[in-house]
Every structure is written in C-alpha cells, then in structure tokens.
C-alpha cells in the first residue's frame, strides 16, 4: 500500500497574505498524520483536568517554538516520529484511568516540538513568509483547543462515567488508526 508520505511542504501560495495563512492552516488540517495526534493530545489534556488545555498551553507553545528552530534539521523520518507520538498519546488517553501533570506537560511539550518540526520539515527559520508560520501556529493550537474544548464540554455536560469512557474510546480509535497508518508508512519505505 502506498501510504501518503508527507514530504516537505512546498508552500506555493505566492504573495497573497491570506492565501499564505490559509496554506499554513491547511498543512495542519489536511494531513491525518498531523491532525490526529493533535486531537489525541487535546483529549488527553481534558481527561487529565477540566482546565488541562489552559494549564498545559504554555509548555505546548514552548515546544512549538523549539519546533520552529528544529524544523530545519529534520528529514522525512519526522513523520514516523509524529505517528509514534500520536499512537502514544491515543493509547495513554485510552488506557490510563488517571493522568498526572508531569505526563501532560511532557507530552504537550514534545508534541509541540514534533508537530512544528513536521509541518515545516526541512525549512529554515523565517525562510518562508511570516503568514505561513502564523497559519501553522494557529492551526496547531486551534486543533488541540477544539478537541480539548469539545471533550471538556461533553464531560461537564454529561457527568456520568460513560461520557469519560466515550473519550477514552475516541483516544483508542485514534491510536488504532495511527498505528495502521504507521505500518503502511513503514512498508511504503
């Protein structure tokens, strides 16, 4: 099976600043290998704490800043790292009944580093127009915030145990999808 290998994004939106921003956002939302791990992080943060996203946001942002710098030094292998991180995030969200602050912060920081490194794979710092960076940062943060917010709302709206299980099942499904994509990617070479 030919897995959709994510290569360095070409970023060909031209001089239009809105198009640049949109292209940056689309890098996050149109690649399952990027969006699924970010969703898993959002779910895990809300399973950890109702304010989990807000509490972990500073370290997540710090990770993204490191990722901006690290992107120039990564190759296509970063996709496999992102998929592995996604499997880990989904599996931990699914299997652990309780989460700790250390776990949440470490995972948020590391996901930030890897996500930005993957989105900007091979591109040096400020090699691209600033609005592309803005779009990528916006997409990365909004993806995690939406997943975390949706999970938090659902668990606060329905406080029964089964609602927490629903989000753990969602984490399990995301991890399962990413595990298969990871295998396809390995066989695609």
């Amino acid at each position: 099976m030919a897995a959709g290998r994510v290569e360095a994004h070409a970023f060909e939106s031209g001089a239009d600043q809105y198009a640049q921003f949109s292209e940056g956002v689309s890098v996050i939302f149109t690649y399952p290998s990027t969006i699924l791990p970010l969703m898993a992080l959002g779910i895990l943060l809300s399973l950890w704490h109702a304010e989990g996203m807000v509490k972990a946001w500073p370290v997540f942002l710090a990770g993204q800043v490191i990722g901006l710098f690290a992107a120039a030094f990564v190759g296509v292998w970063i996709l496999n790292v992102m998929l592995a991180v996604g499997v880990l995030l989904g599996a931990l969200a699914a299997l652990l009944p309780k989460h700790t602050q250390t776990e949440a912060f470490v995972l948020a920081a590391f996901t930030g580093v890897v996500s930005l490194s993957l989105s900007l794979e091979g591109h040096g710092l400020f090699e691209l127009p600033i609005f592309i960076y803005a779009g990528i940062l916006f997409g990365t943060n909004i993806a995690v915030a939406c997943a975390a917010g949706l999970a938090r709302y659902a668990m606060e709206r329905y406080t029964a145990d089964w609602m927490r299980i629903v989000w753990r099942v969602a984490g399990s499904w995301i991890a399962a999808m990413l595990m298969l994509i990871f295998a396809f990617n390995l066989t695609a070479g």
């Binding site: 099976m1 699914a94 099942v169 499904w173 399962a176 298969l180 396809f184 990617n185 066989t187």
Partner: protein, 198 residues
C-alpha cells in the same frame, strides 16, 4: 416519545451514512475509496462479524468494568495485529484463531461464563491480534492508507457497539436467554468455519 424520535433520527442518519457509502464504492482510488474498503472489510466477513459482536455481548455478561474496558482495549490490540499483518510479520494459524474465536466466545456467552477481567482481556486480546492480522494481510494494495485505517477502525468499533447493545438485553431475564441463544448461534458459526463447513 421524544426518545423514540431521537432513535429514529439516529437510525435515519445511520441508514443515510451506509447508503451514501455504498454509492461511493467505485468512485476511484482515494481517501473515500480507502475508507469504504476499510469500513466494509470487517463487516463483510461473517467470521469476523460474529467475533466482534461476541466480544460486546460477553463484555455485557461480565458486567462493569469489562463492558467498557473491552471496547477501549480491543481496537488498539486489533490495530497492533493489523500493523503486524501490513508489515509482513507472520503469525501461525491465523484462520484457526479467527474461527476458534467465534466458537470459544460463543460458548462463553452460551454458558454465561464469568471469567476474571485479566483472563477475559488476555483471551480477547489474543483473538484481536488474529483478526487484525488477517485484515492487515488481506488488504488491497491500491487503497489509500489513511482512508483505509479510519474506515477499518470505525467499522470494527461499530460492530462492538452492536454487540454491547445486544448485551444490554441481559439486564432482563428474557433478554439474558436471548443473548445466550445468540451466543449459541455464534458458537455454531464459529464451529462451521473451524471445521470447514463454511
């Protein structure tokens, strides 16, 4: 009445979803095609279907927390088996394991066996690896990987939900007997596959 309306609303959505999917079945290779292939792959194999549903019913017989833990754990373990199949790691006696899973799980339901949670998890986990491996090995090479993975996990998950739904009938005496009867049918189907009658 309100609940009935909701039920029919959900049913309509489900039917629309399934019919729409069928209409897209041959629209070319891409994410949609991969999704359709992955979605139907676990659903169109009767030996897989009975085992997936049996997991849900047996989970209901075991009660909490098994009824919730099994659907959380099963997709992960099954995907692990699928990944082994995709990358070509051989597992012996996969077909026997699949057919045996229907027979064993069916008998466990028929006789309403209450196993400790860890025994149930290990048993179901082993069966999940067999099923996942078969799906991973049999997958067509022309389908989109992302679409296939998403469709496969959702298709498998829906089968579990059907099993858990049937399992909820065990809360009444009549429903319990119906569920045990379903276990008997599942065991027969598993035996038919195991001994080469199907």
């Amino acid at each position: 009445m309100k609940n009935l309306s909701r039920f029919f609303g959900l049913l309509t959505m489900l039917v629309a979803f399934v019919c729409t999917s069928a209409a897209f079945a041959h629209s070319g290779e891409g994410v949609g095609d991969g999704f359709i292939s992955g979605f139907w792959h676990p659903i169109l194999g009767p030996d897989h279907v009975v085992a997936m549903i049996a997991v849900g019913i047996w989970g209901a017989f075991l009660g909490r927390p098994a009824i919730w833990i099994l659907p959380v754990v099963f997709p992960l373990v099954m995907a692990f088996g699928g990944a082994l199949g995709v990358i070509g790691v051989p597992i012996p006696a996969v077909e026997i394991g699949i057919a045996g899973s229907g027979l064993v799980l069916g008998l466990l339901i028929l006789f309403a066996v209450s196993a400790p949670l860890w025994v149930a998890a290990v048993l179901v986990g082993i069966f999940a690896i067999f099923h996942g491996h078969a799906h991973g090995t049999e997958m067509g090479e022309s389908y989109n990987a992302f679409g296939y993975a998403v469709g496969f996990v959702i298709g498998t998950g829906l089968l579990h939900l059907i099993g858990i739904g049937i399992g909820f009938f065990t809360e009444s005496t009549v429903g319990r007997w119906v569920a045990r009867g379903a276990g008997g049918v599942i065991a027969l189907i598993g035996a038919a596959f195991l001994f080469g009658f199907a």
